[in-house]
Symmetry: C2
Subunit: 212 residues, 2 copies
Amino acid sequence: MPTLYGYFRSSAAYRARIAFNLKGVPVDLAFVSLLKGEQKSADYTQKNPQGLVPALETEQGMLGQSIAIMEWLELEHPKPSLLPGDNWQQAQIRAFALAIACDIHPLNNLRVLKYITGELGASEAQKNAWYAHWIQSGFEALELSVKKHGGKFCFGNNPTLADVCLIPQIYNAERFNVDLSAFPALMAVYQHCNSLPAFADAKPENQPDAQG
Amino acid sequence: MPTLYGYFRSSAAYRARIAFNLKGVPVDLAFVSLLKGEQKSADYTQKNPQGLVPALETEQGMLGQSIAIMEWLELEHPKPSLLPGDNWQQAQIRAFALAIACDIHPLNNLRVLKYITGELGASEAQKNAWYAHWIQSGFEALELSVKKHGGKFCFGNNPTLADVCLIPQIYNAERFNVDLSAFPALMAVYQHCNSLPAFADAKPENQPDAQG
């Protein structure tokens, strides 16, 4: 069985947990505390030189990057598909997921927030404004997309890679008290997804390392 | 023929240009000046609500996100493959590309540099240190990867999605005078790629809008 290295609060690890749950593919969970800096330990960086979570360990080796892990999972276990439809539809789903994974999340993760409050001397208020700025400006286009393509989920009535990326991002935004009232379509998808075990079981507070 | 909306200096648009060149797939180029803020114009955001480049317009509509565009291109035009090999090998190539697209580039693009010098009041020196920090910390793991998997290119002796993402990122790093002496394996791939027309023709200075 593969092992998924993660951290309960890591939004990217949370994505991967949801994806394994939706596929019904069993995976061992291993925990790397970002708060304690364990991702930079010699033990972990020997396995994953990038020093980030998540990473997936299989008999073939180690694989980093949540989107790469989920693309691999999709190839290995095609059903139920997280990238359904024709090439164009798949591309739209990927673009939605990547708008989060490339243009929102990287600006708001722990190492970046530490840099702006540390090296750049940003105040708590400036940090919160920074956080909210990238969420709100990024979510505008996603809200339009869900209004156009959405059903119970971001694209129609089955979960896709788009939902897998959206739910952890909204979870984090709520943790930072970002005003999400301008995004009713995204919030409706969020409520629906969280009613499903595959999403609910992957929540940060339901992970063993949340108790540490 | 599809139309690729880009900007000569956009590293993500540069990736897409290389990919179309490597595939030998003709595409019309359209130009959106990020310097003039044209990506936020009503004309452009009506087409691409995210207000970023690149975006690809086809008969089926508009597609954002460089990685999604290149995954679509790979599905539509499988040869020559930018994601060769078995599922695990493909996953490693994607992880390399995403380490750039998710963990380096988003922190160093124009809109973010503007935010840290504007709202956060970073000095020119702080901006350059920020830029170099994300490049150098991100490149460390990529250098190890190329030492392990590389040949003339990041993975063996054929260009993949990894090279398509790496070359524009090094190009940008050089523009910001980042010290890259710790990354000889990456630089060897860079030199080799730039000797090939598919990469050289896609360079920022060879685009029509570079003359504006």
